[in-house]
């Protein structure tokens, strides 16, 4: 199986490689859509767009890391992670994967409803970035947000409860799959419309800068990560926020999870220039392209991007090339994607890749990883039990969070504020 980690010092990072056969490289980006269901995968054909893509260079990798990669022997001192870090990354990715698989099960068993968008296959991006953050750093996501919330620290119980629509959910059951929020862990959503979370993330970064410069809180350096997909990169809000963030040097990292598909719309069919990372320099920030199926590469780039933001040097645009193993949502029949493309990316499963890396480099043994697998299984089982046992929201919850200040419901005919009416606390008043 072609594993990204086996050839860590080779492609795709060097700009000199012009004539690459996509299939022979360690992390080929294959735009299969041109072939769709009509032609089987042709080994000799190499879509020119994807070749040009191969020449992207990682802009912000530190010299120390570059030096490490040049050395071919893989002694422990040259590894990119320690054992503890490796286990943390592995556990987080397994948590994400197992949780999402359980969601699918629960959905088909009628325990959760509506639109549920699963993250299988993209775990390296969430883990690679979010595990570097502090608690006060903020994460903003899209509707594909379960794993971002989990990586940030929101307990699986709260996320599962939210999906079941129970009152113990992180949003009291009022948000659902697409609206995961956590004040404690600074998860600022969870947005159903693509692109609408990016300005919110820009605002959180603005607060960080405002605190430091206006409120004179010298230690205010929290960073915000905005996650969104390839489809969003054609949306106005994306470009408007790239401009503002670069203009004011806001401490934000824009992370594009380019999984090539926006429901059934291929990225190549929707975008005039599909190389999203290039749009960063157009706005005055570095644009980085990274293999999003390789958690170590993502982490490497993330370290630099987050440090850059924290220093006050401004934003970075990171394009992670990744793939979702399941359909857009649990309601998506996923008929348009070429099975060969899916099979290809399945061989680049980020969890399997990390596992192989750690075992080959003798960081861990199988038993330790199996122990983690088992532990996560138990966590997920527990979260389902908890969610099942939790109560549904009572009627009285209906009107509670419409306004932060319930005087906003106004003054009733009797002269009292409507929120003082007992029907409000019961939830039976008509607003």
């Amino acid at each position: 199986m072609s594993c990204a980690f086996a050839t860590i010092q080779s492609l795709p990072l060097t700009p000199e490689n012009h004539s690459i056969n996509p299939l022979k490289t360690s992390s080929p980006f294959l735009g299969f859509t041109r072939h769709l269901r009509l032609n089987p995968l042709d080994n000799n054909k190499s879509p020119s767009a994807s070749i040009r893509r191969r020449q992207s260079s990682v802009v912000a990798v530190s010299d120390v890391v570059k030096e490490k990669k040049l050395k071919s022997n893989s002694s422990l001192s040259n590894l990119l992670i320690t054992k503890e870090e490796g286990l943390e990354l592995y556990e987080d990715m397994v948590l994400g994967r197992t949780f999402e698989d359980m969601c699918a099960q629960m959905y088909y068993r009628g325990r959760m409803f509506g639109f549920v968008h699963l993250y299988n296959g993209q775990e390296a991006v969430s883990t690679g970035f979010i595990k570097l953050l502090r608690k006060e750093d903020c994460v903003v996501s899209t509707y594909r947000d379960h794993v971002h919330a989990l990586s940030k620290g929101v307990p699986a119980r709260q996320v599962m409860s939210e999906l079941f629509g129970k009152t113990t959910g992180c949003c009291r059951g009022q948000g659902g799959s697409m609206h995961m929020f956590s004040k404690e862990f600074n998860v600022l959503g969870g947005f159903a419309f693509i692109g609408e979370g990016i300005p919110v993330a820009t605002g959180a970064a603005f607060t960080s800068k405002y605190r430091r410069e206006v409120l004179k809180e010298a230690d205010s350096d929290h960073v915000t990560l905005a996650f969104f997909g390839d489809g969003t990169c054609n949306n106005g809000q994306f470009f408007e926020c790239l401009n503002m963030a670069a203009l004011w040097k806001l401490p934000i990292v824009f992370v594009v999870e380019n999984n090539l598909w926006a429901i059934g719309m291929s990225h190549l069919r929707a975008t005039s220039d599909p190389e999203i990372w290039k749009k960063g320099p157009a706005f005055g920030m570095p644009g980085v392209h990274v293999d999003g199926m390789d958690v170590l590469k993502v982490r490497e780039v993330a370290v630099e991007a987050v440090a850059r933001a924290r220093r006050g040097d401004g934003p970075t645009l990171v394009e992670c090339e990744t793939y979702r193993f399941r359909g857009h949502s649990l309601a998506d029949p996923d008929e348009l994607r070429d099975p060969a493309e899916k099979a290809h990316y399945a061989t680049r499963d980020p969890i399997a890749a990390l596992k192989n890396y750690m075992i080959e480099n003798k960081l861990v043994n199988e038993a330790e990883l199996k122990a983690i697998d088992k532990k996560i299984d138990e966590v997920i089982e527990d979260s389902v039990e908890f969610a099942d046992a939790s109560p549904l929201p009572p009627r009285s919850q209906l009107l509670e969070n419409v306004f932060a200040d319930p005087k906003g419901f106004g003054i009733g005919p009797d002269g009292r504020y409507r929120c003082e009416d007992p029907k409000f606390t019961e939830g039976t008043a008509h607003v």
Partner: protein
């Protein structure tokens, strides 16, 4: 976005009767108003404040001046009066500045709010005082900077978003509806959005269709927001302060033609109540509900009506969402006739909602169907003669009252 006309050029005087007679307004029981109900001033157009004079003394007497006229006082007499005189846009600025002094997390974002001082000068000189980050000149990206303000509000700041013209906020509808209005609820109450969205709207002087929109009718369905409209320097400052202090997202509608109204306002600090309506002129025969610029057309019509022997009760509803059903209800119960005069379009405007609310709540007290005078469902034409007839004029108000009171 087309360039906004300079404030001075656009806000030419409505008529000679558009400024309050500073001599006549006396606030004898001026106190710092906390945000509690029942604490609003009853400002009567002939200068009395509530509780000072019993009403029945004047019953039957023709009130010669039902609307405040332009100040004809000399400078000598104004110096001795309490309070200070200023224009509406200055009152807004004063309120804003007081709140920015009081709370360092209050900041302003919008196009040309900083160095330019605001297209209607509401933020003049504030950037010099507070810095470029606190009074932020944004690029022309309404949806994104509105969303940015919302993200900042979620993380602890209290931004005020200025729409250079309220119509431009159509581009921010995504953020206003989804995030501003709903985010507190969908997050299960975890994040509050204490933003103020403000800007000039309404039909001006031949500004063309797109600069003459009334966005209150589009925003009114959004759950989770409050909407208020200011109409005098006094309530402009009070509502601005209340909106900033509110934990809820508040949309404050100003009017392009009212920025140069002059009034004497108290020196002491005061905050008005966001949810209350304002009694402009108590009366017996008919309740006229209005807000923003139409208040002045109503008061002009009231002058004529009084001369014809009618006694209209005029209420400036101020709170467009939610409606102050107490003040409105008490009035309906007294007069049994309702006329709504608004600038929104006929279809789906504030008047339409108000008609429904009154019918629902006070049907038994009505002696006649509610009459709602709104602007015509027409894109506001550039030509002055046509523009004049798209909005409600005082003559129509007089005719409507006469018909209602038959």
């Amino acid at each position: 976005m087309a360039a906004i006309l300079q404030a001075v050029g656009a806000t030419t005087a409505l008529s000679s009767t558009n400024s309050f007679d500073s001599k006549r307004l006396r606030f004898s029981s001026r106190r710092s108003l906390s945000v509690g109900k029942g604490n609003f001033f009853v400002v009567r157009s002939d200068g009395r404040s509530n509780g000072c004079y019993p009403r029945d003394r004047r019953a039957g007497q023709l009130v010669t001046n039902a609307v405040a006229t332009k100040a004809d006082s000399s400078t000598a007499s104004t110096a001795s009066k309490p309070g200070h005189e200023l224009l509406l846009f200055e009152a807004l600025r004063e309120g804003l500045e007081e709140e920015m002094d009081r709370d360092p997390s209050v900041c302003v974002m919008g196009e040309d709010v900083g160095h330019y001082g605001g297209s209607y000068k509401v933020t003049r000189d504030l950037a010099e005082k507070y810095g470029d980050l606190r009074v932020l000149d944004t690029p022309i990206a309404e949806n994104s900077f509105t969303g940015m303000a919302i993200g900042a509000a979620m993380t602890g700041l209290r931004p005020i978003i200025e729409g250079m013209n309220m119509g431009f906020l159509l581009l921010a509808f995504n953020q206003i509806s989804n995030n501003c209005g709903m985010l507190h609820y969908t997050s299960g109450g975890q994040f509050k959005i204490p933003v103020v969205i403000r800007g000039p709207g309404g039909v001006g002087r031949q500004l063309g269709a797109e600069h003459s929109q009334r966005l209150e009718s589009y925003f009114q369905s959004i759950p989770g927001i409050q909407m208020v409209a200011c109409s005098t320097p006094y309530n402009a400052k009070g509502l601005m302060k209340a909106a900033i202090r509110s934990e809820n997202p508040v949309i404050l509608f100003e009017h392009v033609l009212l920025y140069n109204l002059k009034e004497r306002i108290p020196d002491e600090e005061y905050v008005l109540n966001l949810e209350e309506a304002e009694m402009v002129r108590p009366g017996e025969h008919v309740t006229i509900l209005t807000y923003s610029r139409m208040r002045y057309h109503v008061m002009q019509a009231a002058k004529t009506l009084v001369n014809k022997g009618y006694d209209p009760e005029v209420i400036d509803i101020r709170s467009l969402k939610p409606f102050d059903l107490h003040t409105i209800g008490n009035s309906v119960k007294k007069t049994h006739r309702v006329l709504i005069v608004e600038e929104c379009m006929r279809t789906g405007g504030i008047g339409a909602s108000l008609t429904a609310a009154i019918s629902e709540n006070f049907h038994d007290y009505l002696d006649a169907p509610i009459v709602c005078l709104s602007s015509q469902d027409v894109p506001t034409p550039y030509a002055g003669t046509l523009e004049e007839v798209t909005v409600v004029q005082p003559a129509q108000i007089v005719a409507a009252v006469e018909q209602l009171c038959q």
